[in-house]
Amino acid sequence: MSEDYNDNKTIHAQSSETMGGGSAGVTPDMDYVRPAEIADQDLYHGHSFITKWIFCQDAKVIGVQYFLLATFTGVVGLILSWLMRLQLGFPGAAGFVTAEHYYQFVTMHGMIMVVYFLTALFLGGFGNYLIPLMVGARDMVFPYLNMVSFWSFFVAVAVLMASFFVPGGPTGAGWTLYPPQTILEGTPGSGAGILLMCLSLILFVAGFTMGGLNYLITVLQARTRGMTLMRMPLTVWGIFTATVLAMLAFPALLVGALMMSLDKVLGTSFFMPTILKAGEVLEYGGGSPILFQHLFWFFGHPEVYIVALPAFGIISDLISVHARKNIFGYRMMVWAIVGIGALSFFVWAHHMYVSGMNPWFGFFFATTTLIIAVPTAMKVYNWILTLWRGNIRMNTVMLWCLGFIVTFVNGGITGIFLGNVSVDVPLSDTYFVVAHFHMVMGIAPLMVIMGAVYHWFPLVAGRFLSEKLGKWHFWLTFLGAYSIYFPMHYLGFIGVPRRYYEMYDSPYVTSAVGMNEFISLAAFLVGAAQFILIYNIIKTLKTGKPAGKNPWKANSLEWLTPTVPPEHGNWGDRLPVVHRWPYDFSVPGAKDDYITQTTPPSEVSNTGVEKT
């Protein structure tokens, strides 16, 4: 077995050398980087198809696995949203979408999109692929655990999908799973469906914990020489902080899911007060439904930032690279990410303003919630200030970035409406909320994912995605999605509640029938447009334009591997040595408009780089 490992007996004698070019031998003082303090990592090299591609320990393969499985769940979520929109826009058009089914679709759509699609894609997918590359590690620190993490996710997804086929179907309790209705008849899927949901969530959390520990320790303890925290690309910062949030927020979900399962299976009354059902008093009593809501949102609010922070990070890198300009206010960006992350543990009950909790909490949570707007605003300003006096490549990646800014600011501002406690009172539980979170979570991070796919595809597959198809994809998605969710706010204003199967006999909706139909049509279009991407990917894999090394002229380490796409172990014989932050674009005096992170100062000594 031992020959499967590369055995690094001693610390590589790298201390006196640098990576930069051929000038081997003497290193000028200014290029000094502290010697390695940790030995090179031993890696297990797979030999068979199974160890190389299925139970693979290479973070890059695991990342792709996560990405593909998450995309699959995303497509399921998309199809569910189509069915929902079919019912909402054209009631009765699809006869099989009964009220029961509708609620099951809403629930599964919400849960899949938030947890199994976005969280898994950002952290599992991009996190695995990019973290080791970007911090200059050979792999995640615990490759085996990392592999187990993916397969736990796989089982979690399998369990989730299985719930579609059990008697009673999947749970239809809303993705927030509020008891008591979650586990009572009267809610579809209150039998096996909800149990499988809880089980699947628990598996997801367990699997995620294994992955998350990997991401954290890799970032904290396995960076390459010269890579300080303040030289990490913001992508890593975003994913890292999101992982911290996940590690601290998922416990609350786990506890909530466990207690609810016990209420269901053993008949405990954690969340169940005395309940009268069809004239009979059930064998419950004394529990507190609001407790579940606190647990859920103690998880749930950090969760929404878990999907937002990686997006914030990635978008910063994309904008910087394609505007050929350093990210403006890097330090502020880092502090904002960390600050938003920390604050997100103190705002959870803004989802519960009208839940009947202690009314005085409203003051506390409104204040903390609005405080979050400040660091977030700084991020927004810095993105647009990065564009200012840049040299902006108007390619597909940049389009996604611009689309992100528009939709995120829009959604963020509507968040401010909701965060301001008394403004939330009339808007809560209406379509205004639905519009808010789709704008800020459904669309904005999705734009980032798409931008990231167009950006990093040349790295992963060695070929460019088609720009022409990409532009079609972008405009259809952006304009389509915007026209779904912008008008949707106004449904909320006229008073249309969310989670309504239909309400065509109400004055609130008769005036908006046309709008509902339009929204549905737009949703079909946007969904269909995603298949352009899938077609683009398949086509490109065969016939795309080869990208070569560092096609975007970026600075960060992932583009600087000896082979493209990078191989197992990432760096060949030598780990890279880092001399600067990844944002040295358009430095005055430099001959190119970019200076890679591994370029030692002596090679660009005449430039005006700032010390980082």
């Binding site: 030995a39 609001i290 103690f298």
Partner: protein, 111 residues
């Protein structure tokens, strides 16, 4: 990541410190047991319980888990997140009082 050279002589702590802490833990546990034995009530009970609890927890973390000897970077990373928990506890105290109040007020005669 076997960064410790085999020959390197790692200095460890004297055994005495562990035995001391060990003994202290027994004593403190005994005291917290006595809180129940003598049926202290009210604020006194609570402050004693919490006092012994935090002392014991602190000793275990500081010495048995070596946090006392760890560098501040690790210690701080581990302790700051507890503020979120503290906030959660604090608010849930307010919440249970409120819940109990509405229950007594609206569900029980004379409440």
């Amino acid at each position: 990541m076997s960064n410790t050279d085999k020959k390197e002589q790692t200095s460890t702590h004297k055994i005495g410190i562990y035995l001391w802490i060990w003994g202290l833990l027994f004593v403190l546990s005994f005291f917290s047991y006595m809180v129940d034995w003598y049926q202290f009530q009210g604020m006194l009970r609570w402050s004693l319980i919490l006092f012994f609890m935090f002392l014991k927890a602190g000793l275990i973390m500081a010495f048995f888990m070596h946090l006392f000897w760890e560098r501040y970077a690790l210690v701080n990373v581990l302790l700051w997140p507890m503020t979120a928990i503290a906030c959660f506890i604090f608010l849930m105290v307010a919440e249970f009082k409120y819940t109990l109040f509405t229950r007594l007020f609206y569900f029980f005669v004379g409440g």
